[in-house]
Amino acid sequence: MIFSAELLVQTVLSGLMVGVLYALMALGITFIYSIVKTINWAMGEFYMIGSYIQFVAVHHLLGARWWWLAALISTAGTFLVGLILEPILIKPMYARPMQRRDDYATVVTIALLLLLRSLAVALGGPNQYRPESDLPVVWIGPLPQEGARVAAFVCALLALATFWIVIKKTWVGLALRAAAQNRVAVQTSGVDVYRLDAIAFAIGVALAGLAGALLAPLFMVFPTNGAVTTVKGFEIIVIGGLGSIPGALVGGLLLGLVESLGAAFISSPYQNVYGFLLVILVLIIRPNGLFGERGRET
């Protein structure tokens, strides 16, 4: 291994770039959990749906030039799928009086994971696809970066900013924040908490869909392509703390950095191990995650 300042900067940059995309996944998981109170195990399958829509849109319909429009369509598409699926699959667990409802809801998301994966195999086969990308290499100083990677990074930052504006500045965001704090009280305000659940679920899976669309030219499109990013998403949740939005962002960046630095300066085949080491370290030092709350509120 040769250490150089240039390599360090490049490694940090690429770690941050991929970290922001991990953060999108983690944000989706944590956001859905904070409102719907369900861990959505099918997150990776919404990532997968986003990547397939991106491939079809770029390869068959629009062409590589219009990748950004395709990414918007992928995001909107996964949003819609989420908006339609939540009231059918998750809401019944919460709208009826029953015990252990979040456990049932979680199991339903696991069933959804299997269903969506099988559907992808049935529709597109087990093949790997890759949407074309004609984005030129971007030089940051003397350092080259893949164009698609830089584009994904910029789009992910834009998506995070949009998310922040929606949550902080719109009335839907206000209602979502309120629902995250107290599902009972929000109903006395005249807010339909089940409709908010559907919106929150849709926003969360749309973040995964966007990540899938942006990473499609880098990490390929195939039925199980969301599995790895889902695991990363959950690693970040452990690092940052479940239900914490800043935790998702900081956790995503940290994971991206640790993986990238470990791969460059220690050994690249063990890239995934470094993330798990970070998870174990956080569990030892702060079991609730960096930004996690100490207890759960009901």
Binding site: W171, L174, A175, R177, A178, Q181, N182, V184, A185, V186, Q187, T188, S189, G190, V191, D192, V193
Partner: protein, 245 residues
């Protein structure tokens, strides 16, 4: 005289063998401020929960200004004008005091928009002496201030016609109590909004409520002015002990 505002007929709730509300019937006219008193465990909070859709009725019917509310979810009941507060104030602790007020206003989709909501919030904050805390998170408020905020949030719903306040005066300091009384009187005077106030504080009930209903063991045992009901033997017995009437 105008038709009744609230009509609750035969409202019944059972928990296993316990009948928490046994065919409770109650009628309120527009603009009325009614007290709901009774010993602990009489079923007052259950009745509030049933009225506002937080629990499901086993039998009975509830309507507000002629429109049937029976079986509607809590949020729709609130949107149709029957708004409640909780015994332990439920405010959104991580949101600012102003945001707590704006949420119910915006949820109602008021045509006046945010500006009207801001103006209304300012007015309520001034009356509720919470102005200086408007931008603070609600988590900094005392228990009494939270109760004020919770009440004010209800007053932000433009379509609200009846407020059901569950023990609003319990455990709050006298100054905040007076402020809350002032708020209730003001809302009642200016908009003709009706109130059903569950309370054990007889002095306040006497001041605010021309009529009271007394619940004993899940039934409305008496109705009338506080002095009238206080003379009824079954009420005296229920409060002072001995076998129930």
């Amino acid at each position: 005289m105008a038709g009744p505002l609230l009509e609750a007929e035969g409202v019944t709730k059972r928990y296993g063998g316990l009948v928490a509300n046994d065919a409770v019937t109650m009628t309120l006219v527009p603009g009325e401020v009614r007290g709901l008193i009774g010993p602990n465990g009489a079923g007052k909070t259950t009745f509030v929960n049933l009225l506002t859709g937080f629990e499901a009725l086993d039998a009975g019917r509830i309507s507000l200004a002629g429109s049937d509310l029976t079986g509607l979810p809590a949020n729709q009941i609130a949107a149709r004008g029957l708004v409640r507060t909780f015994q332990v104030a439920r405010v959104f602790a991580n949101m600012s005091v102003r945001e707590n007020l704006l949420l119910p206003f915006l949820a109602a989709g008021s045509p006046g928009g945010v500006l009207e909501g801001q103006a209304r919030a300012r007015e309520l904050l001034a009356t509720g002496t919470l102005e200086h805390l408007a931008e603070e998170p609600a988590s900094v408020l005392s228990g009494g201030q939270r109760m004020l905020l919770q009440a004010c949030a209800g007053f932000m719903i433009p379509s609200a016609r009846l407020y059901v306040l569950d023990e609003p005066f319990a455990g709050i300091n006298p100054v905040v109590k007076d402020t809350l009384i002032e708020l209730i009187e003001r809302e009642n005077r200016s908009d003709g909004r009706a109130f059903l106030i569950v309370s054990h504080e007889m002095a306040i009930v006497r001041r605010l409520c021309p009529r009271v209903s007394v619940m004993i063991q899940g039934r409305v045992a008496a109705e009338g002015t506080l002095d009238e009901v206080a003379r009824r033997p079954e009420v005296v017995q229920a409060y002072l002990g001995g076998a129930a009437a």
